[in-house]
Each structure stands twice: as structure tokens, then as C-alpha cells.
């Protein structure tokens, strides 16, 4: 089934005959091959949407994991409020919907030859590619930190074994111990995520280790939903969480996984549990293919998501600079769905339709205390996806607990509905 815009439908209504253009375009996408790289929110949304709207297009999804554990809700796992299994999803249902699912790691992209190479040597060609490859952690940007060091000082910024490691370390911490968190400067995946993590770790410690402390060593001075987080911390976890802004720490100079210390320009911190969230960038194969244009994130046409460096390659989610939209699972899901519409239209020789894009980032401060920040995005005259003035924004400060509880419920509902759509 080919997609028809209102404009074309109107044109057709006057003649009520099939135009040669439409007949040609309806055939154009027949048998076209779209390869999606990344089995997270963006990739899964693109795959499910393409199957739904353009069954004539062949869709291959390449994921580097057999099962995907979501970063959203992983802080609830760290707080021992949910098992990892409850945030982990396989690809059987996506495959059953008619998508060719390949578990493998992409190591090279050739935008000229329109092909992708996997680690096992397999090469795939595409008519259009949609990349939603997430982020790569820049371990080396934190002196003393490395992938090996993350077994002592977990990052837990890709959900899975790292999440369980941090959960277990928190549970095993001595009474009255200190949790250190190192948080990068923007941009990084999930701007409010570190502060939700601090909140939910405090939620766990309040019950199990009430004299423990959490110190957040931040690479910036202000953070997402700050007024809401600090208001909640005062009432729920008084004295437990200390936020040290960049201005008061001067930046992390290095970490020592043996001594469990973080050295900053102004002070040395010692922790019993140390969570290092390193700076991030688009994954290597994406940058090696030139999609970063010399930078660390992918510049795209913010209407079509097509790379400005590589025609035929669309980049969505955390790896791309998508106008004013934040790097969130919600954003990636929306971009995946919209990009599927764009790609389906382009493969049919049609002009893609525009729409309004939305994002909500929910954060749990405790299991029944939710807060949010929302955004509304439209393409402006310069082709940039801009936040619409006078819309969006955060939950109100000073709101009654019933509002916080309603938002916590909505966060649970959002997660259930979205993961059912993507992976169910």
C-alpha cells in the first residue's frame, strides 16, 4: 500500500483517474530494501512503523544484542524495585511481523556503494538506511577510567550487566557508606537520567542504609528538572544527596578504581560505590564513515533525518543532532516512527509530510513520585526542528503529591504501552 498525501488525493479527486506519476511511484518502493541499524527505541520504532505503513518495502533490522535492556526504567532495577528481566526484550515479535532481524555488529558503512559490513564479514546493500546506533562511551576522556575499570566503577549507562553490577554494589555497601557519581557535561544520553538515578538510589538507601550519602560530581552547573529534583530531595531524602556543580569541583582530573577515588580540580572524593558516567559520542563505525563531519555527532537534515554527509543514510536517536530534541528513548521512538514515514515517501517518489514531534522525559524521584519535562517540536523556515515557544516545560514545583503520583503512574503506563508497541 502506497502512502498518498492529502494534496495528491485532492489532485486525484478532480480527475478520478490514476495519474501516471502515482502509478510509477506506487511501484517505486515495491521491493525496496531498508536496512535499520540499532535495535533500541529508534530502530524498533522505525521497523514496526515501516511494516505497518509500507508492507511492500523489505526491512532488515541489525541489532548488536540478542536481547535489549532499556535504559529507561533501568534506575528502578538499580534500586532493586524491578528485575532486569522486566526491562529486557527480544526480537521474536519484530521478526514475526516480517522484519529480517540480524544479530551482529556493524563495523563499516559505505554510503557510496550503499552497503554495510558486519563483523562476521557479511555485507548488506540497501536503498535507504536508517541508523539508530545509540552512543559510544568515551572511557578515555576520564583519566584512569576504561572498560576494564567499569567492573569496579560501573557506568551502568548501557543497561544490562552493568545495571546489575551497580545494583549489587549498592545493596552490598557498608552502612553509612558513600556513593559517588561522576556526571558529564552536555550533550549525553538522557539528560535527567543521572539525577533520577541519584533519587532512586536514595530511595533504596533510605530504606536499607539510611545514614549513607550520595555525592554527585557534575561536569556542568545546572541540570534538567533541577528545581523539581532538589525540591523532592529536600522532602524525601533530606541531607542524603549532595550536588557538586562544575563551578565547585573544577572538573574531574582522574579516577582510581583501586582506591575508589575521584580527583577533581578542587577536591578528592573517596567512595564505597563509584558510578562513572563518561562523556559520549556517536559510535565508531558512524564517525569512521564520515557521518560526524569531523565532529562527534551526526548532522542531519532535521526534516528528513538524512545525513548531510551521506545521502540515503538517515540518522536518528542519540547519535544525531535532531534540532532541539533531547537524547531520550521517547525522542528516538518518535523519530523512528516519523523517519519511517519519510523513508516510505521518498522511496515512493513522494514528498514526505510534516507533522508535530513531541517528547516527554519522565523521571522517578521515588517509585510513586514522578516528574516530567515535555517538548513540542516543529520544522521552522530554516529547516530546523525547533522547540515551540510557550509549550512544553516541566511539571510544576510545589504540586501536591497526587500530581507526583499521577505522573509516576503515567510513566509506568508510557513504558508499558511503548514497549508493547515496539517489542510486543
Amino acid at each position: 500500500m502506497s502512502k498518498i498525501s492529502r494534496r495528491e488525493a485532492l489532485a486525484l479527486s478532480s480527475s478520478l483517474v490514476t495519474s501516471p506519476f502515482l502509478a510509477a511511484s506506487a511501484r517505486a518502493s515495491e521491493g525496496a530494501h531498508v536496512v535499520i541499524v540499532g535495535g533500541g527505541f529508534g530502530g524498533a520504532a522505525a521497523a514496526r512503523t515501516l511494516r505497518r505503513i509500507s508492507p511492500e518495502i523489505r526491512v532488515t533490522l541489525i541489532t548488536d544484542v540478542k536481547e535489549f535492556s532499556t535504559c529507561p526504567f533501568s534506575n528502578l532495577v538499580i534500586a532493586s524495585e524491578r528485575p532486569l528481566e522486566s526491562i529486557t526484550f527480544g526480537y521474536d515479535n519484530i521478526a514475526a511481523s516480517g522484519v529480517d532481524v540480524i544479530v551482529g555488529r556493524v563495523i563499516a558503512l559505505d554510503p557510496i556503494g550503499k552497503s554495510l559490513t558486519l563483523e562476521d564479514g557479511q555485507t548488506l546493500t540497501y536503498d535507504r538506511a536508517i541508523l539508530s546506533p545509540g552512543v559510544s562511551l568515551k572511557y578515555g576522556d576520564v583519566p584512569g577510567y576504561s572498560e576494564a575499570a567499569s567492573t569496579a566503577m560501573p557506568h551502568a549507562w548501557k543497561a544490562g550487566q552493568q545495571t546489575l553490577l551497580l545494583r549489587d554494589q549498592l545493596a552490598a555497601m557498608r552502612q553509612g557508606g558513600t556513593v559517588l557519581m561522576s556526571v558529564p557535561n552536555n550533550p549525553y544520553r538522557c539528560p535527567p537520567g543521572p539525577y533520577e538515578r541519584a533519587s532512586l538510589m536514595a530511595h533504596y538507601l533510605k530504606k536499607n542504609n539510611p545514614t549513607a550519602k550520595i555525592i554527585i560530581i557534575d561536569g556542568k552547573d545546572t541540570f534538567s528538572k533541577q528545581a523539581l529534583f532538589t525540591e523532592a530531595w529536600k522532602s524525601l531524602y533530606p541531607g542524603m544527596i549532595t550536588h557538586v556543580p562544575f563551578a565547585d569541583n573544577g572538573g574531574v582530573l582522574g579516577v582510581d578504581p583501586g582506591a575508589m577515588t575521584i580527583a577533581t580540580a578542587f577536591e578528592n572524593f573517596e567512595g564505597d560505590v563509584v558510578n562513572i558516567i563518561p562523556p559520549q559520542r556517536a559510535p565508531d563505525f558512524v564517525l569512521e564513515a564520515g557521518l560526524g563531519g569531523g565532529g562527534e555527532w551526526c548532522s542531519i537534515d532535521q526534516f528528513t533525518f538524512e545525513s548531510v554527509e551521506a545521502p540515503g543514510v538517515h540518522v536518528i536517536g542519540d547519535a544525531a543532532i535532531v534540532g532541539d530534541m533531547p537524547k531520550s528513548g521517547f525522542s528516538a521512538s518518535v523519530q523512528g516512527g516519523v523517519c519511517a514515514h519519510v523513508v516510505a515517501a521518498l522511496l515512493s517518489g513522494q514528498t514526505p509530510d510534516r507533522g508535530v514531534l513531541l517528547n516527554t522525559c519522565y523521571s522517578f524521584v521515588s517509585t510513586n513520585y514522578g516528574i516530567s519535562v515535555a517538548g513540542v517540536y516543529r520544522i521552522n523556515e530554516e529547516g530546523r526542528l525547533k522547540s515551540v515557544a510557550g509549550t512544553g516545560g516541566t511539571s510544576p514545583t510545589g504540586a501536591p503529591l497526587s500530581v507526583r503520583e499521577a505522573e509516576a503512574n503515567h510513566a509506568q503506563s508510557w513504558y508499558k504501552n511503548l514497549t508493547s508497541f515496539l517489542f510486543g
Binding site: L22, A26, R354, S413
Partner: protein
């Protein structure tokens, strides 16, 4: 012949129903991330298949600043009443929850 038949079916659908009606289709991507495409059995209400006038009245009330919702008033303030009218008709035309 088969292709022409198929094509004319598509055209009729596009003319009589909102199922393929352009930008509402794209905007609905964002709506569905919370509300789903085929219904919701959670605290987030089902929207597909509901009466378009009921949906429009709700959306206009949120857009006008009724803060009884947690999120929707923050979204709909960014949309015109014409857009909301088209969107309400589109969502209503998606069919009832399964």
C-alpha cells in the same frame, strides 16, 4: 489490472477516510508513543476510535490551559484549533480499541 484495482482502492480510502491523511499520520506517531495505536489499558487513556467531537473538546480545553492533565496542556498549547480539529477527526477515524 490487479495493480490498478489496488491503486484505486488506495485512492478511495484516501478520499473518504482520514487513514492516510498526511501530516496527522506523522503527528500521530508522537501521540501513539504514549496512547498506543490500538488502545491502552493503562492510566493513559485510549484515544483511537473515540468520538471526534469529544476528542476535540478535550484537546481544545487542554490547549486553552486547563491544567487538570499532567502533560497534555503542555503539548496542545503548541497546536492551532484547525490542526486539533484535523487531528481529532484522524484519531477518531482510526477505529475503536481492540
Amino acid at each position: 489490472m490487479f495493480e490498478r484495482l489496488q491503486l484505486s482502492t488506495v485512492v478511495v480510502v484516501a478520499l473518504v477516510g482520514p487513514a492516510l491523511a498526511g501530516s496527522e499520520d506523522v503527528t500521530m506517531v508522537s501521540c501513539s508513543v504514549c496512547h498506543g495505536l490500538t488502545g491502552s489499558d493503562t492510566s493513559i487513556p485510549t484515544i483511537n476510535g473515540r468520538d471526534s467531537q469529544e476528542l476535540l473538546a478535550l484537546m481544545l480545553s487542554f490547549a486553552a490551559g486547563d491544567t487538570s492533565a499532567t502533560i497534555m496542556h503542555r503539548f496542545l498549547a503548541g497546536m492551532s484549533s484547525e490542526e486539533l480539529e484535523l487531528l481529532a477527526a484522524y484519531i477518531s477515524g482510526m477505529g475503536a480499541a481492540e
